[in-house]
């Protein structure tokens, strides 16, 4: 990582988009980096499009506004690519980390795919019928950026979730780290 990293998460209400950014911020802080995590709040509804943000830096973070030019975009629900523009403002050398099964989507950026839904179902990480993909995606993010380490991520997961849920999510990031594919995109 250079001096700082700006990550934007896209998903739907109920998927844990906010928690993903929070856990990432905690994991970065365990490596003595500065971090901040926050979502856009509105009238939260299950299934509605949600954004959250995480800044990680070696120096104090002073920006408080939403991330408009991210280094990395993490997409929890790939259907969002069709209905909105989660890639808006992504830097030219930016990365996309996406929950995706099968042949990689062509989005014009360096892309990392992981079948997070499959991993969540495999581990029975399901709540109210929804696969919990938020933490799974963090394993793929770590694979894509190297920040933070998988160990710190697992430690942060342990702090956020107690008991079996913590253990399952730790296992989930190990699996997603292993099963993330890097796809070099040809700019259309």
């Amino acid at each position: 990582m250079e001096s700082s990293l700006e990550i934007r998460f896209h998903g739907r209400g109920g998927q844990g988009v906010v928690t993903a950014a929070n856990v990432l911020a905690e994991a970065a802080s365990l490596e003595n980096m500065f971090s901040s995590a926050f979502p856009i709040y509105g009238a939260e509804r299950r299934g509605a499009e949600i954004e959250s943000y995480c800044r990680i830096s070696r120096t104090q973070i002073r920006e408080t506004s939403p991330i408009e030019e991210p280094d990395v975009v993490v997409i929890l629900d790939p259907t969002l690519l069709k209905i909105s523009n989660p890639l808006r403002g992504l830097r030219k050398d930016g990365k996309v980390v996406i929950n995706w099964k099968g042949a990689s989507p062509s989005v014009g950026f360096k892309t990392y795919t992981v079948d997070a839904t499959g991993i969540a179902l495999e581990l029975k990480l399901v709540k109210s019928g929804w696969p919990l993909v938020n933490i799974v995606m963090l394993g793929a993010l770590v694979k894509a950026t190297g920040v933070p380490s998988l160990e710190s991520l697992k430690m942060a997961i342990g702090q956020e979730f107690s008991g079996n849920l913590g253990e399952l999510n730790k296992r989930a990031v190990e699996l997603s780290f292993e099963r993330t594919f890097e796809v070099e995109q040809i700019v259309a």
Partner: protein
């Protein structure tokens, strides 16, 4: 110890560390997670305070005030409509010279409904006789809350303290916060002492009718307690610096790159940090600017403000609040303090997002104006794409 936490979590932790005895609670976004966290601490057995659930903010302050006058350290939190509904009890509390602490996570006031950040709710209490501080980070929210208990209970002050923080931008942003140890906080905040306690067993009473001259004298005593609290706040701040390695509380307000600056921008709250980014960038590009962050709106430190801003060629005051028809409250306060050209900007209302690029553009344009003309007046600034604002009266036919 460092921990990643939101502004609301940081405040709840400060309240716990201060060994508060009573918390009056009523929920309202974006403050709610403060009282939720306190209730959960109580449920886990980490907090011994009585959590008193009431039916409104008016009663939340009444309970908190009742606890305070009966000798118990007490706390409450609110936002927006809740603060307005509580308004009457806010005045009863300062008029009773009752030491207690309230945190306000700021939010726009309806109508129309809007849950997002704006400081007008907090600023609208500035005539109510409270000490009023405003945080710029979750860290500062924790630090100012802890200091608030000690300032409030100092016999030279004996007034309630209101700590404000930007709703969502601070209340819900998780970032690194240093937490002082319980032992350090215990030494920092001594056990509560007050000269009287309202108790059924004693003959003390409060809230009686005061004839005119006594009433006016009481009002003057509050006025003087507020102006004199400046020294107490600095003293408490210096003490706090000893238990927090990050602390910079020896002054009421905060200067950034002001010493050699010809022009200055004045702000309050979280976006001061975005403005600092802009100041750095403007300096790289040869503009000699600095920033002054107001941390205490009451007391209003005329001395500090004159010392830091009195020699500037002109200043730009950016408010996230309005006194409708007059401009921003900070702008009005500075106009009454300094005899230099001052321009006001009102922006960021109702959650309008204002970032470092907006500050860059506002400040650079201001310096251009100030170089060649006498600046003044108030501008309503809309960031980004909004170039023209149509201001229709909703009920007139178009």
């Amino acid at each position: 110890m460092m921990k990643v936490m939101s502004g609301n979590e940081a405040v709840a932790l400060a309240v716990k560390l201060a060994r508060v005895g009573v918390v009056g609670i009523y929920p309202i976004t974006p403050q709610t997670t403060i009282i939720e966290e306190l209730a959960e601490m109580r449920a886990r057995g980490e907090l011994s305070a009585d959590i008193v659930r009431v039916e409104s903010e008016h009663s939340a302050m009444a309970v908190t005030l009742g606890a305070a006058v009966s000798g118990v350290r007490s706390f409450t939190a609110t936002s927006s409509q809740g603060l307005l509904y509580m308004h009457e009890m806010v005045w009863w509390t300062s008029g009773s010279r009752a030491p207690l602490v309230m945190v306000v996570a700021t939010r726009a006031v309806g109508a129309p409904w809007n849950i997002w950040n704006e400081n007008t709710d907090f600023m609208s209490e500035r005539d109510s006789g409270w000490i009023m501080a405003f945080a710029s980070t979750p860290q500062e929210a924790l630090d100012l809350t802890l200091q608030a208990f000690r300032i409030s209970e100092d016999p030279r002050v004996f007034l309630p303290v209101m700590v404000g923080m930007d709703g969502f931008i601070l209340s819900h942003t998780k970032t690194n916060v240093f937490i002082p140890s319980q032992e350090d906080v215990d030494n920092f905040i001594p056990p509560r002492r007050q000269p009287y306690v309202i108790d059924p067993e004693t003959k003390e009473s409060m809230g009686n009718i005061f004839p005119p001259i006594y009433y006016m004298k009481l009002r003057q005593s509050i006025h003087e307690a507020i102006t004199n609290s400046e020294e107490v706040i600095k003293e408490v701040g210096r003490e706090y610096n000893k238990i927090s390695p990050l602390g910079d509380y020896g002054t009421l307000n905060v200067s950034y790159k002001l010493d050699d600056a010809d022009y200055a921008v004045v702000t309050m709250g979280a976006w001061s940090l975005d403005a600092m980014e802009a100041v750095d960038k403007l300096r790289e590009n040869g503009l000699n600017v600095g920033l002054y962050r107001v941390r205490y709106i009451r007391p209003w430190s005329e001395k500090e403000i004159r010392e830091n801003l009195g020699d500037k060629r002109a200043i730009l005051v950016v408010d996230r609040a309005t006194s409708l028809g007059r401009g921003g409250p900070l702008y009005l306060e500075l106009k009454s303090t300094l005899n230099i050209p001052i321009k006001g900007v009102v922006t960021g209302l109702g959650g309008v997002s204002v970032g470092k690029r907006d500050f860059y553009s506002l400040i650079s344009r201001f310096v251009e104006e100030a170089r060649y003309s006498e600046v003044g007046g108030v501008e309503w600034y809309y960031p980004g794409e909004v170039k023209e604002v149509e201001l229709g009266t909703p009920r007139t036919a178009h």
